[in-house]
């Protein structure tokens, strides 16, 4: 049986003179920026600076400041015990936890062990394809324009550049007309708007998915982000959450699939306005929502923070370095688990079919997968996250290549019962008289032995 154990290695030292100088600035943010230049923290490592209780960096009431690179400032005070609890909480936030590792392995654990939220994050893959689609079900009333290329270059590309260590990303966009949602929204008299209730949201995606047409032409899993402009007769359209209140961003996402946002167009004041209305989509508002959904899909969401924590916002890049590290930990563990599952099932296949011929290149891929997985596990144990991740990616590629090789097809080899079926009609009629006469000979020999005296 496989099991995963994790440990944290903590090293204590005092600050160098340069770090003292860097910490001498006014705000925590500048301190963090200055410290980042001095550090040589590799992937997976964190540096925590304990500042005196009276330090002015941290605002009142805040005891821990988490920077957007790999460092944090903790206020010392109240003795070593409180410091230790604060450090433990900090590790829970910034680095991997037992639950995040278990979530990475969620596909391999049986159902009952984890909660219903366990299988939400995207599976680790070598690349992802992101598709932005604009759905316009009523082109007669609305002529919608969106400057998607500029928005992608300005808002999405920095985030993808930061995530480029994790996987290859490719982005494309399309505009679909006459694409309706699968659910008819209800009209609500009080707010005089149309509402989509929370329990009808799962049915929305299915009819649209057939028109998105993205899975036919891509090797990698696809993330779809849809922007829906409701028809004139169904405007304005709001999404309700479970309590019945309209969702502020008017968007929802589906784990491992993507997200949908509803963009309402204001009806013009004069009812005689000429159709179709020209609509210019506000890409800032839309991209904010889509990027937040992208973070949720990858599992970079922030759980409940203790109240005395302050997180620095990562700005244009979309995610902090330590969040990237958390993702890499989870993906590395998942990759290694995938490799072990694949190779185990390959070994089981070989046990079942005795006469499969393994070609040389399949064998070399298997060897390569095993060595890469072993080196990945060794590096993970030491904490070299970057090289462990690369090794795990290599291991996954080699194991998939070995497992899906066309020469391993089960039906290519004669099952044993077919051989029986061919040879039995030939040998059985021949064998029956031989066996009968053998039996007769044995009987006669035994009789002769019993009565040797009956000879004249």
């Amino acid at each position: 049986r496989t099991s995963i154990t994790s440990r944290y290695e903590t090293v204590y030292r005092s600050t160098t003179a340069q770090e003292e100088a860097a910490l001498d600035v006014a705000t925590a943010r500048e301190a963090d920026a200055a410290l980042h230049l001095l550090q040589d923290a590799s992937l997976g490592a964190l540096t925590v600076y304990v500042v005196p209780e009276t330090s002015s960096h941290l605002p009142q009431g805040i005891n821990v400041y988490v920077g957007k690179h790999r460092s944090a400032l903790v206020r010392a005070g109240g003795g070593l015990a409180t410091l230790r609890t604060r450090l433990q909480q900090l590790t829970q936030v910034m680095s991997f936890t037992a639950s995040s590792i278990a979530a990475a392995l969620s596909d391999r654990l049986p159902d009952g062990q984890l909660g219903p939220d366990a299988r939400r994050h995207l599976k680790s893959s070598l690349g992802y394809e992101i598709t932005f689609s604009l759905l316009n079900p009523d082109p007669k009333s609305h002529a919608v324009d969106w400057d998607i290329e500029d928005a992608v270059n300005r808002y999405v590309q920095p985030v993808l550049d930061k995530l480029s260590l994790v996987a290859n990303f490719s982005v494309d966009s399309q505009i679909l007309y006459y694409a309706v949602l699968g659910v008819t929204p209800r009209f609500d008299k009080e707010s005089s708007s149309f509402l989509l209730s929370a329990h009808s949201l799962p049915h929305v995606i299915n009819p649209v998915e057939a028109r998105l047409g993205s899975s036919a032409a891509s090797l990698y899993p696809v993330l779809n982000f849809l922007l829906y402009v409701p028809e004139r007769s169904h405007s304005p359209l709001y999404i309700q959450d479970k309590d019945g209140a309209p969702v502020s961003t008017n968007a929802f996402h589906s784990p491992r699939w993507g997200g949908i946002m509803v963009y309402n167009v204001e009806t013009p004041a004069s009812p005689q306005a000429s159709l179709p209305l020209h609509v210019d989509v506000d890409m800032v508002r839309v991209m904010e929502v889509f990027l937040a959904q992208l973070r949720l899909l990858f599992g970079l969401s922030r759980e409940e923070l203790p109240p005395e924590f302050l997180l620095e916002s990562p700005g244009n890049e979309g995610l902090a370095n330590w969040e990237l590290d958390r993702l890499l930990w989870a993906h590395t563990v998942e990759n290694i688990a995938t490799v072990s599952t694949t190779l185990t099932s390959l070994a089981q296949l070989l046990d079942k079919i005795g006469n499969i011929v393994i070609k040389d290149d399949v064998a070399s891929e298997v060897y390569r997968a095993v060595t890469s997985a072993q080196s990945a596990m060794a590096k993970l144990a030491v904490g070299h996250l970057h090289s462990a991740f690369q090794a795990s990616k290599e291991a996954v590629t080699s194991s998939e290549r070995a497992f899906f090789d066309p020469s391993l097809l089960h039906l290519l080899y004669f099952p044993d019962d077919q051989k029986f079926a061919i040879y039995i009609p030939l040998f059985l009629p021949m064998a029956v008289p031989i066996l009968l006469s053998l039996a007769k000979i044995v009987r006669e020999a035994r009789q002769r032995k019993k009565e040797p005296t009956k000879m004249d």
């Binding site: 082109p139 007309y177 006459y178 036919a216 061919i422 009629p429």
Partner: protein, 485 residues
């Protein structure tokens, strides 16, 4: 396509599925890109294009030039493949319709319902992608996607013997509005008068305008219905174009096109055969060259020394021949020739072949149906009898893209011949079963009885006092009066 019955088609297609691609010069491994592209297209269009591999792909040198703006000179970037066995059906129409911006919800595409479209004599779908100038100054290049659907409805046999047709009768639907995304949405009805005297047909509702063009060497008149013009739907909510013949047609002869071709297989037996191609040039006084591209699968071994081209009884030497011999199980034969066709002549091209014996796993599940040889392609610049004038791209984009003419005197035509069906020597696939049965029977019967005879031991047996059979026999003997056993 039946040329005698249908005349010259606007855009002809071979039987089965055809794919040809010019790759960009930046592609390093063209074969790998070709395989990936055919697999992706097979997934998108639900057509079995994934069966395209090196055994049916060729690299023509002269027949296919890149469409649109690209100037391709390196023919190693071109790949061409035909799958003659593929049949077009509803599941190809659905992704074809999905490519249209309005789908089948608005505009002209509402007419395209599968149940009526496949109830026809000829059905062909095509998708072409080419780079074109974005505007007249040609500063930017954009990609043009052109989708063509060609259907031949046989109203004579299905419409109670009358040749009148209407949109409702053909498609069981009428047009109600134009696609809001379209910049042009028009219906053209060919009302060219056959003989110039009387009016033979009548189109209702009366068209708003009439367009005259010279198409493929013929002067033709089209009635135009513009779906985007607001006056069209004034009188009625839907548009149902109807055509009625005023007096019954005595002879429904369509003019024979200037260039047409036929192909057939002759010979007897299952070892040798001969492929003959007949090319007709019915132009009264002009001769023109034609490029013939033939792709023959590797299991028909062509003998190129038997290639003969005969025109009007004399031998005709082609000015350009490109022949790529086949490699067993790897590459098909490729034969490309530039042949000059004299005016008013029939050219016969014959080549002999020998049929190969395939390995028993290479036969299809129905080998006695035969094996297909894909259509050959004829490309020519046919001189037109009537001089054509240059038409502006903006005014009539349909006609300039369908019937392009660089100079006014000739138009480009690409024809396809019929596909051929040849029988290869087929083994009897039930023989393994027969062998097993026979051997087992022989062994069981002969060997068993021989062995028995050889190894039987005899010993004396006491005469038994009589079983039931002997007692019955004695009773019958007593009745007969014969002494008992």
């Amino acid at each position: 396509w039946r040329t005698r019955a249908g005349g010259q088609p606007p855009l002809q297609a071979p039987a089965g599925a055809e794919l040809w691609v010019w790759f960009q010069p930046t592609v390093t491994d063209v074969d790998k890109a070709w395989k990936e592209l055919s697999n992706i297209l097979s997934g998108i269009f639900c057509a079995s294009l994934n069966f395209i591999d090196s055994t049916n792909t060729v690299t023509p040198t002269a027949s296919f030039k890149p469409l649109g703006l690209a100037n391709g000179t390196d023919h190693h970037l071109l790949r061409y493949a035909v799958l003659p066995r593929e049949v077009v059906c509803t599941e190809n129409l659905t992704p074809w319709k999905k490519l249209l911006p309005c789908g089948s919800k608005a505009g002209l595409a509402v007419l395209l319902k599968a149940e009526r479209l496949f109830h026809s004599s000829y059905h062909s779908q095509a998708v072409h992608i080419r780079p074109i100038c974005r505007d007249a100054s040609c500063l930017a290049v954009s990609w043009e996607l052109r989708q063509t659907l060609t259907v031949v409805f046989d109203t004579f046999s299905s419409g109670q013997g009358k040749k009148d047709w209407s949109l409702f009768k053909m498609f069981s639907r009428t047009l109600t509005d134009a696609c809001p995304l379209a910049s042009q949405s028009k219906v053209y009805v060919d009302i060219s008068p056959k003989n110039k005297e009387k009016e033979l047909l009548e189109v209702t509702p009366p068209p708003a305008s009439v367009y005259e063009a010279i198409v493929q060497g013929d002067k033709r008149t089209y009635a135009v219905y513009d779906l985007l013009s607001p006056s069209l739907f004034n009188t009625s909510r839907s548009l149902n174009v109807q055509l009625k013949w005023k007096r019954p047609q005595d002879s429904s002869e369509l003019p024979t096109p200037i260039l047409h071709a036929q192909r057939y297989v002759s010979g007897y037996g299952l070892q040798t055969g001969e492929i003959s191609t007949l090319i007709y040039n019915t132009h009264p006084y002009r001769a023109f060259p034609v490029i013939l591209l033939e792709t023959v699968p590797w299991y028909l071994r062509l003998y190129v020394h038997t290639l003969t081209i005969i025109t009007k009884g004399k031998e005709n030497k082609p000015s350009y021949i490109h022949y790529q011999p086949a490699q067993d199980r790897r590459q098909p034969h490729l034969l490309e020739m530039l042949i000059q066709l004299p005016a008013s002549s029939v050219t016969k091209i014959t080549i002999q072949f020998e049929r190969a014996l395939l390995k028993w796993t290479e036969y299809t599940p129905d080998p006695n149906h035969g094996f297909y040889v894909s259509s050959s392609v004829l490309s020519a610049l046919v001189p037109s009898v009537i001089a054509m004038k240059d038409v502006d791209v903006e005014q009539s984009p349909l006609f300039t893209s369908l019937f392009p003419s660089s100079d006014g005197s000739s138009y480009f035509v690409r024809l396809y011949t019929e596909p051929l069906l040849v029988n290869l020597p087929t083994p009897d696939f039930s023989m393994p079963y027969n062998v097993i049965c026979l051997t087992c029977t022989v062994v069981a019967v002969c060997y068993g009885s021989f062995y028995n005879l050889l190894t039987r031991t005899f010993h004396v047996e006491e005469p038994s006092r009589g079983g039931l059979a002997k007692r019955l026999a004695n009773i019958i003997r007593k009745f007969r009066g014969v002494p008992p056993l």
